[in-house]
């Protein structure tokens, strides 16, 4: 009995420490966005009165609104397009199986092992030949066909009742109509999970935008934050950086908070296999 009690106490101590470590940088960030840059550097750990100053500086000293819009435009574009392409493809691979399609699907899956650095240079040359450097399309186009998303939808379609599709066929429904009005509504949580995954990835993408978005008015939030804190020409305003990091985190935080249920469901579905 006492053994069990010790176990239980240990369990809570463990989870408490882990939770504290997870949350601490967030608390720190929220405290420091109210302090001046000098106070942040001095390690002040109490709430100050500089929030409005930092907030104002973040908007007046950086291209925050423009860069937020660039990030939003790219992330939304990638999410919508990649989900359409991947869900259609997964449906095609899963429901209309044939030797040729299985073969193509295997090539898709194998390509997940190819590191981005192999594609990076040819993609860069291609994008610049097309005149797309410094445009949102340079980031959106290469992300439209996401093999991982195809795999993700493919997995969740594995358990889809084929009978429903077949009886709709007997009723004379066209193939695309079946996909649109019968299959789609039933995969709602898969779509939500895929949307979160896709949006997060595009919103946080750093390396490829760093390569193709070079002009200041095209930058995304990660590029803005990274550029400001790597600045060596003049002193860095850490209060402003805190505001920027908070603003760039909020959309993902909200999406996750509201769609958490679907996210975990979708993940579980993808793993059941």
């Amino acid at each position: 009995m006492t053994n069990r009690k010790v176990n239980s106490v240990l369990k809570y101590i463990f989870i408490l420490i882990c939770a504290f470590i997870s949350v601490f940088p967030f608390i720190w960030m929220l405290i420091e966005c109210t302090n001046s840059s000098a106070d942040i550097l001095a390690g002040k750990m109490s709430i100050g009165n500089q929030f409005m100053v930092n907030w104002h500086n973040a908007f007046s000293q950086t291209n925050l609104i423009g860069d937020f819009w660039n990030s939003l435009k790219i992330a939304t574009g990638v999410t919508v397009l990649s989900i359409i392409v991947a869900s259609l493809a997964a449906y095609g691979f899963q429901i209309y199986r044939s030797r040729g399609k299985n073969w193509v699907y295997s090539i898709f899956i194998a390509s997940m092992m190819i590191p981005f650095s192999v594609l990076m240079i040819p993609l860069y040359r291609m994008v610049s030949k097309l005149g797309l450097i410094n445009t949102a399309w340079a980031v959106i186009l290469p992300s439209i066909t996401s093999v991982f998303l195809v795999f993700f939808f493919h997995q969740s379609l594995e358990t889809f009742p084929i009978d429903t599709i077949e009886s709709a066929r007997i009723d004379g429904a066209r193939e695309f109509r079946i996909f649109w009005s019968i299959v789609l509504p039933q995969l709602r949580s898969t779509f939500a999970a895929a949307a979160i995954y896709s949006f997060m990835g595009a919103w946080n993408n750093y390396m490829w935008p760093l390569i193709v978005l070079q002009s200041d008015d095209q930058k995304t939030l990660p590029l803005l934050i990274s550029g400001l804190s790597a600045n060596t020409n003049f002193s860095i305003d850490y209060g402003v950086i805190m505001i920027l990091i908070i603003i760039s985190t909020i959309p993902i935080f909200l999406i996750f908070l509201f769609l958490q249920k679907y996210f975990v469901q979708g993940m579980t579905g993808a793993n059941k296999g």
Partner: protein, 291 residues
């Protein structure tokens, strides 16, 4: 399902069409053109055929080897610790006797909502010479002088590993937690009756049940750690003196930061691809060995 008739087979291709166009343009085409790159010396628009010259050069490039070494160090040290912690956390969060499970789960997953750049900058600030971590350690008298976290070659790597652990443990935990939902409680109850200890239950029930997910997360983590870029770029910028430069960073530098040499960078990326292929195959072989 081999017997789909020709008409349905054709309709199927229509569904797949868009993805094949995208795949051909942004995956197949770049790969094919990279093959030519690997054997040439290309900067700007002038390209000369150099055969295996890029690979010969690679052998004598000490920065290439040290960058590759750093990537491997992150892989070997960080990934096992992270996966172990992720499994333990998943088991604890899955236990029926734990109160407020949803709440704890949310807190543990919270680091995943930060962008890689944002959290890297936060870690850089926390671990700077006059940053909060040093202040705290000094205040509790654990150290008498600030630790040069970001300017010492070993410490810089440790900070990156700590940052990676903070950001990615909760992410992997979700996969294990999902996997544990498929293990029925009855197995544990039976083991309990047979007098198996918690540790024995973990070793003989939990771990084998999670094996496919351990394989999945290990392969994923291997592939992504060998491509590690955002964190070292923003926490240490590869410093001091390239001591925390990863292979992905070095390839980026050779392509876009130094005098660009696309052919040489492409050759290095092929080495990384080869390593990923070999490691993935080994991991799958090991995982399927006892079946």
């Amino acid at each position: 399902m081999n017997g789909v008739n020709e008409k349905t087979n054709r309709i199927g291709w229509w569904f797949i069409g868009l993805s094949i166009v995208g795949f051909a343009a942004f995956m197949i085409y770049p790969i094919v053109s990279s093959v030519k790159l690997v054997f040439s010396s290309l900067s700007g628009d002038s390209s000369t055929f150099v055969g295996f010259g890029n690979f010969v050069r690679l052998f004598h490039d000490t920065t290439f080897w040290s960058s590759l070494g750093n990537s491997f160090l992150f892989l070997i040290v960080e990934v096992p610790i992270m996966l172990l912690f992720a499994i333990i956390l998943a088991v604890v969060l899955n236990s029926k006797t734990l109160k407020l499970r949803g709440f704890w789960r949310l807190l543990i997953f919270l680091p995943c909502v930060t962008s890689l750049v944002s959290y890297s900058i936060l870690f850089k600030m926390l671990f700077s010479a006059d940053g909060l971590i040093n202040k705290f350690l000094e205040n509790i008298h654990l150290i008498s002088a600030p630790i040069p976290w970001l300017t010492d070659p070993t410490m810089a790597k440790i900070v990156i590993i700590l940052a990676l652990l903070w950001r990615w443990t909760g992410y992997n935990m979700i996969f294990f937690l999902a996997g544990l939902q498929n293990v029925s409680d009855e197995i544990y109850e039976a083991a309990e009756i047979d007098g198996a200890s918690k540790i024995q239950q973990f070793m003989h029930i939990t771990l084998p049940a999670l094996r496919p997910i351990i394989l999945f997360t290990a392969v994923q983590s291997t592939i992504s750690t060998l491509q590690l870029f955002d964190e070292p770029m923003n926490i240490t910028n590869g410093g001091p003196n390239n001591s925390s430069t990863t292979i992905a960073m070095y390839i980026y530098n050779v392509s876009f930061k130094y005098v660009p040499n696309f052919g040489y960078a492409a050759a290095m990326s092929y080495v990384v691809m080869f390593i990923i292929l070999v490691l993935s195959v080994i991991q799958m072989k090991v995982a399927n060995k006892d079946d």
